[in-house]
Symmetry: C2
Subunit: 298 residues, 2 copies
Amino acid sequence: MNKLMECVPNFSEGRNSEIIEQIANAFRNKGGVTLLDYSGDVDHNRMVITAIGEPQALKAAVVEAIGVAVNLIDLNQHSGVHPRMGAVDVVPFIPIKDCTMDEAVALSKEVAEEVANLYDLPVFLYEKSASASHRENLASVRKGGFEGLEAKFLLPEWKPDYGPLHKHPTAGAVTIGARNPLIAFNVNLGTNNLAIAGSIARKVRFIGGGLRYCKAMGVALEKQGIVQVSMNLTDYTQTSVYRVFELVKVEALRYGVPIVGSELIGLIPLAAIADTAAYYLRLDNFSVNQILENHLME
Amino acid sequence: MNKLMECVPNFSEGRNSEIIEQIANAFRNKGGVTLLDYSGDVDHNRMVITAIGEPQALKAAVVEAIGVAVNLIDLNQHSGVHPRMGAVDVVPFIPIKDCTMDEAVALSKEVAEEVANLYDLPVFLYEKSASASHRENLASVRKGGFEGLEAKFLLPEWKPDYGPLHKHPTAGAVTIGARNPLIAFNVNLGTNNLAIAGSIARKVRFIGGGLRYCKAMGVALEKQGIVQVSMNLTDYTQTSVYRVFELVKVEALRYGVPIVGSELIGLIPLAAIADTAAYYLRLDNFSVNQILENHLME
């Protein structure tokens, strides 16, 4: 198998199924590109595409999809609970197979330059592609949203990396970059006390003094009558899934609260699953190449 | 990807590298077949091939390899510590991907019929392909070895499934069948007391009242100065790796002996690794399709 890059672009349309399909079409019937998943969320009024492919083929599909979204989505008419600054809100590239983070960064910059020129769209680079450390975090780049873009452009530290120094009248701005695969991992607690989930979340996450590549918050699962520590693991090669799980368990012990289950949302890299099994079985010298299916792919 | 079958044939030659290479060649440069691994063992005087492929292409390669071995190996001249009854001793087929055990059984019978006719070779079917329950176990079929074949053929319950009612003068007989993937899993104990490893092995294995699809024995690792519970898990879908590991741990506790590591020999199916991770992380509704690389293969 050749180089494989993933792209998980977020678009600010989660209600109009005609627009959703037109954006998704940019990833259909393209040689070298596979549309793995897409779904619109009505509350967030936002759609997320998961596509994978040979880097240049994927780039072409992403550039096309951004064009479709810029043409069809007007942020002046947009409402939704999710923060956003543009018709195309964020476009992360993730190196998957036989390609490096440097290649993902280079690809993200090619896409950024091309869409800035083609669609007269201001582009911010973020995460591994960021041009300065204060631009790495998506929440910081997006702060102020579509409505605050004009004020943001007056600040020298928020000059776009590509494109004009004014917002696109209907499509705002877009944030593009390369990042590690992200694992969405949630641990369910045997209590309905949201304060306990929040307290555990604050302790295990990076900003609270916890694990470096862990973001966490407490969430109530009202239908099930329990609470959840909902997490994003932003670099599983450094902050392992099992370490996160064990730390949540340790913190829950303090409240006498049991772990009643956990869930992985979306996809998880094989190495993260193998790493977990190897830890608990205390495996010496285990390699993912010993996993039959993986061996076959090589 | 299409249907994928594995074959792990064992040949009674582990010393003559010319013969070893000629047998391996049957799996080389064949469309639809991949030679994953092969190795000869001098003490056992035996070689094991691991090959995988589209069922009919794999069948052709296996039939060819059996012909090479029948021509080149003379059991009358053969010595080695491993029990064996033929130049080609045992030929297991294992369904790997998008094919069922029934298909593996059917394929094993096609190969059995073909090699019986082509090479005038008596064939026993074993495991899932066995024609009677007393023929399922390889050790029972092989009992008596090459030297005892003539006596065996006199017993009505050991009539071969295919081929003549007499042994091939130089190649003996062959056992062919379909089985589940086998996981070779060894757990290392923090002691040099072989009796403890043996005692734990006898408790966790099926014949001692232990887990149904677990074979086990105690082994000394003299270089490391420790002992090991060495196991074959013959159906990981029924007897999970984590359950075996936890049971060994429970039995070791009785002797105050710690688990100091473990090892997987050769390949392990992805589902077995995923099952282990899901158990320890208490994952709800986890599917191997959530593993990115596996998702990509689909």
